[in-house]
């Protein structure tokens, strides 16, 4: 655990949530400060559940957390958390007959913005910010998937929330749209706390000050992207053939194999990436789970 450079804006302790016999979250504690924090993990790691708990969409079985000093374990506290919150869910839904403007305006009202003129100014501002100013009068059903995703981001941003929760916002976007989204998220992270769940290690490498890796409902790593990358120092090598001793290996575009794991003597080490560090972290947690199961058995 490394210290935050600033006081935490979001603190959670012992968050646990089970669905039947499955622990979606198992005693998760974390602290977030301002800036973009990436949340990495495989499918089923508990990322979406954690984000839904922090977004007050679902309560945890156990544990507590605060957002900007507000405790959502009371009705009034939850209202205050929601007043500080922008949430983009994994599969955002819309009223398809609404225009982009009307939908974001509707969300702005739900965020208690009742002054019509000020609200409309704010809606125009966020639509401009996400690059939809020109199509704000277009019905959502006629917008592309990437544009709809930006409408959802505008809905999350409207009202200037201090805590932004984004659940895989770049899924299904083409590279250009993804680049555009990265710019938006980087901009959104200036001066507010952003928690970004993603499968894309490139997103984390390019955007995030901090990164959390989850697997099996448990936090496996926290630190900076550089620290995660450093986990793979000396553990990535290239070879002309696939190395059977590697934990993972694949043929690259140049024809050589890139291997990740414990290199053999004399291997040609190469510069690790964030993804290498991430894969090794998951691999270590799999090994830990397996040995734990053996002990239990």
């Amino acid at each position: 655990m490394t210290d935050l450079p600033t006081p935490p804006t979001v603190s959670a302790a012992g968050l646990t949530l089970r669905y039947g016999s499955t622990a979606a979250l198992d005693d998760v504690s974390l602290r977030l400060g301002a800036g973009v924090t990436g949340l990495l993990g495989p499918n089923g790691a508990g990322k979406t559940t954690l984000l839904r708990v922090l977004a007050t969409a679902v309560p945890a079985d156990r544990g507590a957390f605060t957002v900007l000093g507000h405790d959502p374990n009371t009705t009034a506290g939850r209202q205050n958390v929601r007043r500080a919150l922008g949430y983009l869910p994994q599969t955002p839904g819309f009223h398809p007959d609404f225009t982009a403007f009307a939908f974001v305006d509707y969300v702005a009202i739900l965020k208690e913005m009742t002054n019509r003129a000020a609200r409309h100014r704010e809606v125009r501002r966020v639509l401009d910010e996400v690059g939809l100013g020109d199509v704000r009068g277009k019905r959502i059903r006629r917008l592309s998937g990437g544009m709809r995703q930006r409408v959802a981001l505008a809905a999350a941003l409207v009202g200037g929330p201090g805590f932004l929760v984004l659940d895989e916002p770049t899924v299904g976007l083409d590279p250009e749209q993804r680049m555009r989204f990265r710019e938006l998220i980087a901009s959104a992270g200036e001066g507010r706390t952003v928690l970004l769940s993603t499968h894309q290690t490139e997103d984390v490498a390019m955007l995030c000050h901090r990164v959390i890796v989850m697997a099996g409902g448990v936090v496996r790593f926290e630190g900076t992207p550089a620290e995660l990358t450093a986990r793979a120092d000396g553990r990535v090598w290239s070879s002309t053939e696939r190395d059977p001793g590697a934990r993972a290996g694949w043929r690259t575009g140049t024809g050589s194999f890139r291997n990740v794991g414990d290199p053999p003597e004399g291997a040609t080490l190469v510069e690790p990436t964030l993804e290498d560090g991430y894969l090794l972290t998951l691999d270590a947690s799999d090994a830990a789970s397996a040995s734990s199961s053996e002990v239990t058995a």
């Binding site: 935050l4 450079p5 309560p59 009742t114 706390t193």
Partner: protein, 269 residues
């Protein structure tokens, strides 16, 4: 306990944590630099809490646009056809089927109402401060005048001489309507389903068709107006209406904690 920390430089904030704005620009303070701070010696002015009446006024039009008007119109039309066609065809409504037609009409409109809890944007609006109960209540309030007008029309389509007791029939129709709402709200609450309308309508239709056939005579809710048990049965309808309304209202609440028994049950596995 697994502990983590994450974060970087940045600043805040008004009372509720909204990012402070640069003066005059209307934009969040950029660059991770401290946002606009109050002048020394001055407390930041708390943002006045908006009144619920103001929020509801602002919500009326957009919420009206989100209502499932098509299923409601379809259910209403089928219901009116049910009670109106015999009269149009033969010029009269037979005494023996007037009650059945009105019950059928109530069920048809109920099937439309089962879609009232549909909200495709439910997940997108999961973290907003205006509560789900307020939005659902507003949806019902907007549809209520339509429902009252529709039911009045349905009653008037049945000739007065064969019309069953209006108050008791209205009680049955109201209970059916609330059961339809309850089916939708329960699906939302238990499965977090954004559009439960189809499943709720199917459940209501199945219940509406099976209940008269399968319920034992002593429990039946479907008796003829001249039956001795008419009043007693309508006391049961009243209880059903009240119970369904209570459970519906409970389904709209958003708990701040998961129910204890669920957590205990889960931890035993």
């Amino acid at each position: 306990m697994r502990g983590v920390t994450a974060g970087a430089a940045g600043g805040r904030d008004d009372r509720h944590g909204r990012v402070a704005r640069g003066h005059g620009s209307g934009r969040p303070t950029p660059g991770g630099a401290p946002p606009s701070q109050p002048a020394p010696g001055r407390e930041p002015r708390p943002r006045p809490a908006p009144s619920m009446a103001g929020i509801i006024r602002a919500l009326v039009l957009p919420v009206a646009r989100t209502l499932p008007w098509l299923p409601l119109a379809a259910g209403g039309t089928v219901g009116l056809l049910l009670v109106g066609v015999p009269r149009l065809v033969s010029g009269e409504t037979p005494d023996r089927i007037a009650l059945l037609l009105l019950r059928g009409a109530g069920l048809a409109f109920g099937l439309g109402l089962a879609f009232l809890m549909d909200d495709p944007a439910r997940h997108t609006t999961a973290g907003v401060p205006v509560r789900r109960a307020v939005r659902a209540g507003l949806r019902v309030a907007l549809v209520a005048p339509v429902a009252v007008g529709w039911w009045t029309a349905a009653l008037l389509l049945v000739p007065a001489e064969v019309r069953p007791p209006v108050g008791d029939m209205t009680l049955e129709a109201a209970a059916t309507a609330v059961l339809a709402l309850l089916a939708g709200a329960a699906a939302v609450r238990m499965r977090d389903e954004p559009e439960p309308g189809q499943a709720a309508a199917a459940a209501l239709l199945l219940t509406g068709l099976a209940a008269p056939l399968l319920m034992p005579d002593r429990w039946t809710l479907f008796v003829q107006p001249h039956a001795d048990r008419w009043d007693e049965v309508h006391r049961s309808w009243a209880w059903l209406l009240a119970g369904a309304a209570l459970v519906w209202a409970a389904c709209l609440l958003e708990p701040v904690r998961r129910r204890r028994f669920r957590a205990v049950f889960a931890s035993r596995h």
